[in-house]
Symmetry: D3
Amino acid sequence: MYEIGVVYRNIARTDSKIAGELGAFGSATVHEAMGRVGLMKPTLRPIYPGAQVSGNAVTVLLQPGDNWMLHVAAEQIRPGDVVVAAVTSDCTDGFFGELLATSFKARGARALVIEGGCRDVRALTELRFPVWSRAISARGTVKATLGSVNIPVVCGGALVHPGDVIVADDDGVVCVPRGRAAPTLAAASKRQSNEDEKRAKLAAGVLGLDMYGMREPLAAAGLRYIDE
Amino acid sequence: MYEIGVVYRNIARTDSKIAGELGAFGSATVHEAMGRVGLMKPTLRPIYPGAQVSGNAVTVLLQPGDNWMLHVAAEQIRPGDVVVAAVTSDCTDGFFGELLATSFKARGARALVIEGGCRDVRALTELRFPVWSRAISARGTVKATLGSVNIPVVCGGALVHPGDVIVADDDGVVCVPRGRAAPTLAAASKRQSNEDEKRAKLAAGVLGLDMYGMREPLAAAGLRYIDE
Amino acid sequence: MYEIGVVYRNIARTDSKIAGELGAFGSATVHEAMGRVGLMKPTLRPIYPGAQVSGNAVTVLLQPGDNWMLHVAAEQIRPGDVVVAAVTSDCTDGFFGELLATSFKARGARALVIEGGCRDVRALTELRFPVWSRAISARGTVKATLGSVNIPVVCGGALVHPGDVIVADDDGVVCVPRGRAAPTLAAASKRQSNEDEKRAKLAAGVLGLDMYGMREPLAAAGLRYIDE
Amino acid sequence: MYEIGVVYRNIARTDSKIAGELGAFGSATVHEAMGRVGLMKPTLRPIYPGAQVSGNAVTVLLQPGDNWMLHVAAEQIRPGDVVVAAVTSDCTDGFFGELLATSFKARGARALVIEGGCRDVRALTELRFPVWSRAISARGTVKATLGSVNIPVVCGGALVHPGDVIVADDDGVVCVPRGRAAPTLAAASKRQSNEDEKRAKLAAGVLGLDMYGMREPLAAAGLRYIDE
Amino acid sequence: MYEIGVVYRNIARTDSKIAGELGAFGSATVHEAMGRVGLMKPTLRPIYPGAQVSGNAVTVLLQPGDNWMLHVAAEQIRPGDVVVAAVTSDCTDGFFGELLATSFKARGARALVIEGGCRDVRALTELRFPVWSRAISARGTVKATLGSVNIPVVCGGALVHPGDVIVADDDGVVCVPRGRAAPTLAAASKRQSNEDEKRAKLAAGVLGLDMYGMREPLAAAGLRYIDE
Amino acid sequence: MYEIGVVYRNIARTDSKIAGELGAFGSATVHEAMGRVGLMKPTLRPIYPGAQVSGNAVTVLLQPGDNWMLHVAAEQIRPGDVVVAAVTSDCTDGFFGELLATSFKARGARALVIEGGCRDVRALTELRFPVWSRAISARGTVKATLGSVNIPVVCGGALVHPGDVIVADDDGVVCVPRGRAAPTLAAASKRQSNEDEKRAKLAAGVLGLDMYGMREPLAAAGLRYIDE
């Protein structure tokens, strides 16, 4: 499936304004706006709470215990990008730490999403360079085997093409394909305004049962109320 | 085992003063006071540190990927309740987020304990509405299949009846059956006062070996000391 | 493999100055300085972020659901020690809580590393007594079966002898054998100064590809660049 | 929740004819006939393939690493019973092996379901004494702490009362409450005869789409067919 | 990422002769011949040992706890196909059992690969209809929410397009993209003949160290031999 | 902790007669005879049922995704040895397959125990070369980074020195240190003869409660019998 030993340069990216606006909605709203697809597995967790980012995906395919291609990827980063790193087999090693974060940040990257481990989390937290990873591990890696940069990768169970929009926050990481970024933004926007209204009603004590008109379908499905 | 498609209303609850006082002791002390039973599995974790709550259980049985019954449960909440949600098969989806939390809070709920996933954790943290869950996931759910409300449920490996007292904090979640709430409170209270005394001694450098009189039983069990 | 029912007293310890200086480098640097060995599995996590400690290992072998030997270990603690507790079979129970932490702290211990569970995490956080554990659980333990103190133990997959140096922080826990503490310190120190230089270059936008001279070996390995 | 240190004798059992007939349907059919509830988690697996049993539950509550109460339970076994053992915290130790199996078999037990570990699996396979367990482990247990026999227990996430019917096979373990055994048998029987008919049709090439009349609801739900 | 609610008909398939010949090499050889990519995660396991199949992928996207789309997929099966089913979120329910297997077999399917659970494993074993799944569970599913058929899916971490070749055996499941089937077959064939030769030498006692010429590179890497 | 890049030759081994006799007792009995220590974690499972082996440990330390040192180890094997392979970080790749098994077998090895993955399991089953591993995976490995041979390693949480006796069967893998092999054999032998007697009594219907004299200590611990 994967092409090994290649680096695609000058990839097409999603309009950065759209990418930025998608990020403001957060992963849950974007995931709904996508039709509830595109979410990475919840085993990918942020290394510190409160980060919320979005950007164009620069993708990397790593070999287990080997972070060589992250150095190759650094050169392909443009301001506003989010690096997405898959690994060819499960590995919790700390592929990424303070030095690479310094380099990625200098290149303009906003975050890393990696289906492996990460280290130097205190330094990364101080740098405010967020990472979503499967593990935290002090164990470093070698630089011996080729992978690829900017090929389509599967990360956290989601397919990511270079130039797709990545939206990541405390709830997880979602990937919006480049071709669906604009309609997803429109759908997210519509969804959000609905939510503001609903929130106000619910805060005032209105029940979702009434607000969503659920009583009839629940009765039709056979729900019975019993007084104790 | 479970009755599907029913909502029990007007359930008997534990005296709210007892429920509140149990909460002040925390899950570890209450668990000991219960005779070391009633604890949910440690895979249920709080979404933010520092929350400590107690209250009467309103129970919910959910189907995987479906949060319909949480809306039904909202109507059954009374001030001071803690909602406890079991799922009929393992599922990490985000069954609960900001909108439901707004509604639950408006109804007077203090917390949610759910053997599934939760989302909008940043908003929930700002709302100070604590959730103990198995996972955090941006993935939302459908509203298609009935479960039940206020039937006995197994959540996190513990059996919870509606009206039982739930005590939850950073150490986990414990369920105190309604009929044992008063004696458990008495036992917790006694245990606590013992602990204050012990803490002072240990802080002063007294060894547990001496304070608990362990040297003799250890020797009887055959413990040998060897100088290197 | 393990000797059961013994306590070794007056164990040889690593020079405390060396132990302290190793801690300042953190687990990732020390692990690299060791030749990338000696790290415990990443399933051992700190109960609160930001702690960074080092010290001489006092080792404990526990039986599942039984913390008797932690009381025995307390007497063997000297100021600056880190207690390392293995368990003879996987168990997430809360072997350690506020009372033991008070005692350990009074004896001069700096931290606990345990391949089991821990409880009272809010109190431990307030005490600033850090614990690296596999789980957090309110469930307490009995005191019925002997283990040992200050025998070599396997904790988190790493072999730890009493008097080895333990370095623990947000990235994990590494064990430096007593006989390798001094050369590891030298290697870590050298590595660190290199890192400072590299960090400055990378922050200035220099690529690792150039700084590490990777372009040639990558080409030799067959890496191809393709313009889209 | 659990009462510790008690043994209930002379428990009420389900009619053995009903229990036996339920077993013949297997866990999947019985689970459906129950309304898709009562199934234990799929982490409980048989130690060898092909066993299919049913019987009245004799329940046991064990402490981690301690099999004392299995010896107490042996005396309460009557011919045709299935022993169901819960543990107060997660433990993979081998609580049960050849000697206990010999005793259980001599008392007439048909199987063991245990939320812990099991050992001597080769001998148990030769004895044809099936066990559904969470793990296989050579590690034995102590006999030091009381649990209970014939109290309601939560095993594999399912609530089991003594005298409930347990149905176990390669697909898992389901618990049928005593009071629902007869109607569940009727429902299973009806379901089974339907299945025979369906199987014949499907084997002849009829599609489920047509047999179940799914084409219309699928179209109503919006399913679109696209020719490539 | 995924398109929901669509069924692609008349998908392009890989030449059945090539698909069949790839299967004869087994997953390990094919994976190597692909350049060590395309393998599904090892959490997908066969329900019985010894099955070895290959065929064209018919892909299915399922919703958790819902097997509606497997019925839709049945109609798209042609003789020699292997059905590959992804699920939009982790779910161990038994999506597939004897009735569907009867239907799939009648349509000519050779196997199912599913990132969910499977049931009726004894019947499937007797039918010799192999399934690679993440779990075995008696729990059935509902038919309420649309997914899709014959869209590209991520299953077990591997991207599968309809018409790709699936090779599955006791070692796991590998996906060969349609466009790479012929060159992969050639590479596998070459690799295999090399292996026969090597096997004979190794069986005669020749060391891999000598046969592969490893002694020099090992020495160059610094390997030292020490006599005890 | 680990010395990297070394091969110890001519290691001391345990008397092969003792090693063989230990194997006949099986892992559970040997583990008990050791004082219930030395067992590897139950996550190491045999690739086929029914194998029972013992032999002297030849140890290997591997790097993740790299099986180079298994080739180095082959040369150090003597008839009757069992190879024990640890990995420096968690990795499920298939480090070992048919070719290496052919070589190991030609050298006289009886089995492999590996804290990683294994492949070609059908061929290994036909060869009757048993492997205890953490995973089965078709994914092969590279040969790029040094480890070591015949240094002490931690495998499955147990410390193994070269020349220790490994006993492995369906219940798991236990390591008997060379210096304790003779007394462990004596203890196992004594334990076994006791077991034969006990088995006969239990088969005749005698209860463990009576045979082990448990009724009095149970009553002393407070066990109460209640007639329903």
